[in-house]
């Protein structure tokens, strides 16, 4: 990658919000800032590996990982009335963050003219939740998108704060080094 294209890809990166930022935003804003610079977490982290494995192995018979523009959807299927998009998570520990991520996908799809419903899947817990995009959700998504854009355009990341997620986070060594 030459420097010029690096610069351009960086600018592009800081002008758009993606699903993983939305999810991370509710867990740790610092993580979002780092992700926006491709400062990705430590891949050796065992919890990260488990998460990846679950995503890969669960529902392997159904259709997997669809990319539409800047969206990376875990699963797409045909519902009764509309398309159903699903987001797979390891645990429901951060369910609020997961709901927001899914609502974000539905919102972005709607703006592209695609109507869809959402499903949150927790294969390990054998749990499922339906999410339908309401005007209330739309308002929340818009607000979050704005907040994320402001955050990632800050010159410095928010300083680390020790929270309930730190102990298993793949960024912990980076933050507390």
């Amino acid at each position: 990658m030459d420097l010029l294209s690096t610069l351009f890809s960086l600018e592009e990166e800081l002008s758009k919000v993606i699903g993983s930022y939305v999810q991370a935003f509710f867990i740790c804003p610092r993580q979002v800032w780092l992700m926006s610079r491709q400062v990705c977490p430590d891949e050796d982290n065992i919890f990260l590996q488990i998460g990846r494995l679950i995503q890969k192995q669960a529902y392997s018979r159904e259709r997997k990982e669809v990319h539409i523009e800047h969206l990376a959807l875990d699963m797409i299927k045909r519902g009764e009335k509309t398309l159903v998009i699903a987001e797979v998570k390891k645990t429901s520990k951060a369910i609020e963050a997961a709901r927001m991520q899914l609502a974000f996908y539905l919102y972005e799809l709607k703006n592209m003219g695609i109507e869809a419903e959402g499903e949150l899947l927790f294969p390990e817990e054998r749990k499922k939740e339906i999410l339908i995009l309401t005007p209330e959700w739309e308002g929340k998504v818009e607000k979050v998108k704005q907040e994320i854009l402001e955050l990632i355009n800050q010159p410095l990341p928010p300083s680390p704060h020790r929270g309930r997620y730190c102990s298993k986070c793949a960024y912990a060594e980076f933050c507390w080094a």
Binding site: M1, C40, F174, A177
Partner: protein
């Protein structure tokens, strides 16, 4: 935790299904690929492209050494942690001479602080190192006032000269003497041992750099020419005294490695296989040793410590926190 594979004997290294296979003259051994972080190749080992591709896929780094234990080169798999942002920051800190000098000084200050720790350790064990500590402390004061990397290099060279001289006091119960530091080739056993230890530290740090977003070709203290790895040499300044030199003193003071572990080949000294094995064993023990890390609030190994140091450098480049090198407290 992933392991390091050291190959001393001659033989063949290849992919057998999804496993690493090492075939020597007498035996054949299998190593689960997921559990290997890097491989050090000292012996005459045959390997093919299929194996290199396997290593690339599994993100395993291969370090190669020559007959004399000299470092030959590294197979550094295609980068998997890519951050254009960090690379730009790294380049920025190189191109801006003030920023570059500032970082270079931090590496040297860390190196000197750890050198002093090592000397104090042996001072406490009854070695008279006062004069060296005094001479080094005088030079240490001037580190902050140098105005170019070249000056800093010269100053660091002077500090090292005193430091290496002190080896003769630390090792006065052993038959080993260091007249002058000679690298290529080492002209006495002690020089061979110092070089061997240093190259292990250089390559270990390179392995860890691979697991970060940093580009090993952009260093600050050592001259970058974008053709070879230099950042690992910078970071090694800090770790050489506490990793390589402490291991060396332990092995020689305890008489584990002896004079006949070296081979004299027309004035060039080389550590024989037994010596290399013993050194590597002690070195790995050192890396596995853990201690409590206050900020991380858990125990970390000396191996992990290298990674943490690299993260600190990344944070310096981002502009988040000024880099303060690790200084051993014992």
């Amino acid at each position: 935790m992933q392991k390091t594979l050291y190959l001393f004997a001659n033989g063949r290294l290849y992919r057998k299904d999804n496993t690493i296979c090492v075939e020597g003259e007498k035996e054949r051994k299998y190593f689960p690929v997921e559990s290997i972080r890097d491989i050090y190749v000292f012996g005459e080992v045959d390997l093919n492209k299929k194996f290199i591709e396997f290593a690339e896929d599994k993100e395993i780094i291969l370090h190669f050494f020559g007959y004399y234990g000299n470092y030959v080169g590294t197979f550094y798999p295609r980068e998997h942690y890519n951050s254009g942002y960090i690379i730009l920051r790294q380049a920025e800190h190189y191109l801006d001479s003030t920023k570059r000098l500032d970082l270079a000084k931090r590496f040297v200050q860390g190196a000197v602080a750890n050198i002093v720790q090592v000397l104090k350790y042996y001072q406490n064990r009854g070695k008279d190192l006062e004069s060296y500590l005094y001479a080094i402390s005088l030079l240490e004061e001037s580190v902050s006032s140098v105005s170019s990397v070249e000056e800093l290099m010269a100053l660091e060279g002077n500090i090292r000269r005193y430091y290496y001289e002190s080896f003769n006091t630390i090792l006065d119960d052993t038959p080993f003497i260091l007249k002058n530091r000679s690298k290529r080739p080492p002209t006495d056993p002690l020089n061979a041992l110092i070089s061997f230890g240093n190259s292990l530290v250089y390559t270990k740090i390179l392995t860890e750099i691979y697991k970060t977003h940093l580009d090993p070709r952009i260093g600050y203290f050592h001259t970058t020419n974008f053709r070879r790895f230099t950042l690992n040499l910078d970071v090694a300044e800090i770790f050489k005294p506490i990793y390589a030199d402490r291991v060396l003193f332990t092995l020689l003071n305890k008489n584990v490695i002896k004079e006949d572990d070296f081979e004299n080949q027309g004035g060039v000294f080389l550590l024989k296989e037994r010596g290399r094995r013993l050194y590597v064993q002690e070195f790995e023990d050192k890396l596995r040793t853990t201690f409590y890390h206050r900020r991380l609030k858990r125990n970390v190994s000396y191996q992990t410590l290298i990674r943490l140091e690299l993260y600190k450098i990344e944070k310096h480049l981002i502009g988040e926190e000024l880099y303060e090198p690790f200084v051993s407290r014992w």
